[in-house]
């Protein structure tokens, strides 16, 4: 009964998303809080959040394959399926960001190899294909080492190219490709670890099954690793903040200094990084299921806000002729339709995952 209610709720989420899609493509993109200043907003932030989480899951999945730590094999199937679910949700958000998504075949007909966006689209296409093949193999009870290793290297590619894409813009020196190409994969890894814990623990809780000791030991390891990665993400964010706040260069840091006062930045820093890190440093909290869940859910909320903060900090200062008649900084508040896009993506992730969990025996381990 509970499962049906849950699936029903997710279906409503998807239906709201489809209605949003209809609205966006009939009424126009001005249903978003976008202007020619804020060209990338919440739908793209949701895409970045989900796609990086998927890359992070690929890093986790590679632990038994690349680093040969065999006991992590018990989470491999669930992780690969979660990667697919999260990636599908990311694609949903991306489609609703694009003005003319039906023309994406020009990525093949008229490729621009100098464009990070072309590389990103290509890598994600291959990534999804590799993941599907990898899952199919695991599902048939076999190991998928070459495919899993390929997914790992592509995930490094996608997370770093995303840093190149957002950072390599001559127009917006606030966004630094050297920083983002390091920050994105590392925070993605933390997101991937958090996602495994959230999904695995909640699935076990709602199914009413006792988590076997061997599996719980792996989750405890992941929680430790998550604590470390949350700390690394916090450290990088702190340095970005220290440099941004103390630098005298307004060209590079004025927009970031403005963002430091924003809701999204403070959610990211305090709720999403400091609090989870502190929680994970306390052994008793780290070992408890509630502690793990609190820290990882907070981290994921913080990272969602963080992805939004990163792209907004590149945009809020109007450039060139666009600054004409405008304030030094523009403010952003998402419209209900943008929130629906993010909910659509998340609903797709949850629905695909729930169906997979129900019908595909995600706890199975290959030979």
């Amino acid at each position: 009964m509970k499962a049906r209610l849950w699936i029903g709720l997710l279906c409503i989420g998807v239906l709201v998303g489809l209605a949003t899609t209809f609205r966006v493509y009939t009424a126009g993109f001005d249903v978003y809080a976008k202007t020619d200043i804020l060209v990338w907003t919440m739908p793209l932030a949701a895409y970045i959040f989900l796609s990086l989480t998927s890359s992070g899951l690929a890093f986790c999945c590679s632990i038994p394959v690349i680093f040969n730590i065999k006991r992590y094999e018990i989470i491999e199937k669930r992780t690969v399926f979660l990667e697919i679910s999260v990636l599908l949700g990311a694609f949903v958000c991306l489609i609703l960001h694009l003005g003319s998504p039906l023309k994406v075949f020009y990525l093949i007909l008229s490729p621009n190899l100098a464009s990070p966006l072309w590389w990103l689209a290509t890598l994600y296409g291959i990534y999804l294909l590799v993941l599907l093949m990898s899952f199919q193999k695991i599902h048939s009870g076999k190991t998928s080492k070459p495919l899993c290793a390929t997914a790992f290297f592509i995930a490094i590619g996608t997370a770093t190219v995303l840093g190149w894409l957002v950072g390599m813009t001559d127009a917006r020196p606030t966004l630094n490709p050297n920083f983002l190409s390091v920050f994105f994969p590392l925070s993605a890894f933390a997101c991937g670890l958090a996602a495994i814990l959230v999904f695995s623990l909640l699935t076990a809780h709602f199914s009413g099954k006792q988590i076997p000791e061997e599996r719980m030991a792996v989750y405890n390891d992941i929680a430790k690793l998550f604590g470390v990665m949350a700390g690394v993400t916090l450290l990088l964010t702190l340095w970005r903040t220290i440099v941004g706040v103390t630098s005298s260069s307004s060209l590079e840091f004025a927009a970031f200094r403005h963002m430091v006062k924003s809701v999204s930045f403070n959610i990211e820093l305090w709720l999403g990084l400091v609090l989870p890190f502190v929680l994970m440093m306390i052994p008793s909290v780290r070992k408890s299921t509630a502690g793990k869940l609190t820290a990882t859910v907070l981290f994921m909320v913080g990272m969602f806000a963080g992805r939004l903060e990163v792209i907004l900090s590149g945009e809020i200062m109007p450039l060139g002729a666009m600054a004409e008649g405008r304030a030094d900084f523009v403010n952003y508040l998402p419209t209900i339709w943008e929130v629906f896009v993010a909910l659509f993506g998340i609903s797709v992730v949850l629905l695909v995952y729930t169906l997979g969990d129900r019908y595909l025996q995600l706890d199975a381990v290959h030979e």
């Binding site: 020619d36 008229s110 001559d170």
Partner: protein, 241 residues
């Protein structure tokens, strides 16, 4: 093959905006989109103030970030130096907008020229609706529609794609000057071939000390500004303590 550039003489420019109006008519530019625009700045404290006015348009950079970033080569360089956009290939990712340091690329968030699509008359039975007016004069979406624009680019760019100045490539192709240049009553805009040492643009760039917007970025803009206008003068002074 020529390499086109534009020189804007700030001393001749009176800021009348004729360039922008001519551009809108020539290129069927919708509301909220400015292929030809301006940067203004007021400096000083009353009564000692001055107003600066810089006309802007796409800089047709030699090293354009918008072209480098476009994943489908919708934004591309022509051999004559014009940065051109192909509406058909544009997927509406807006990476060119994100990449352009000059803020001269616009996105069609909704159906362009919405006003002229309305079927409701201001006074029912008294006035015609905007859509009726368009039909009456045989226009396409807008009554003042210029069909010539269709020759090299979609006459009206659809919802979901970007658009920007093309140096009126459809006119240049026929040996005519861009419409903003033609329309300028003060001859403040001078267009020509940079590769021809005898062209007016080459002569002016040799004669004056030009500047370009955000030169430090290395984008190599092809819109040059000369003769920054300032009629103010001051008496010889060494200041005070």
């Amino acid at each position: 093959m020529p390499k086109y550039a534009m020189v804007i003489d700030l001393q001749r420019c009176v800021g009348c905006g004729a360039c922008s109006i001519a551009c809108r008519s020539e290129n069927n530019v919708p509301e909220g989109v400015y292929w030809s625009h301006k940067i203004t700045e007021t400096v000083g404290t009353f009564p000692d103030v001055w107003f600066h006015y810089i006309p802007t348009l796409c800089n047709h950079c030699d090293n354009p970030p918008c072209v480098r970033g476009c994943p489908t080569r919708a934004m591309h360089k022509q051999e004559n130096g014009i940065t051109m956009h192909d509406t058909k290939k544009c997927i509406g990712c807006r990476y060119c907008q994100f990449n352009c340091p000059y803020g001269v690329i616009y996105f069609n968030w909704k159906k362009p020229h919405e006003y002229w699509r309305e079927n409701q008359a201001l006074l029912k039975g008294g006035t015609s609706s905007p859509a009726e007016e368009v039909r009456e004069v045989g226009g396409k979406v807008v009554p003042y529609y210029n069909p010539e624009r269709d020759e090299t680019l979609a006459g009206i760019r659809p919802k979901g794609v970007v658009e920007k100045c093309t140096f009126c490539d459809h006119l240049v192709k026929k040996g005519e000057l861009p419409r903003c240049v033609e329309a300028c009553p003060a001859d403040a805009r001078i267009f020509g071939d940079l590769d021809n040492p005898k062209s007016q643009v080459s002569l002016l760039l040799g004669q004056f000390r030009p500047f370009r917007l955000k030169e430090q970025l290395g984008t190599e803009p092809k819109v040059y500004y000369i003769r920054n206008f300032n009629p103010a003068h001051h008496h010889s002074t060494k200041g005070e303590v």
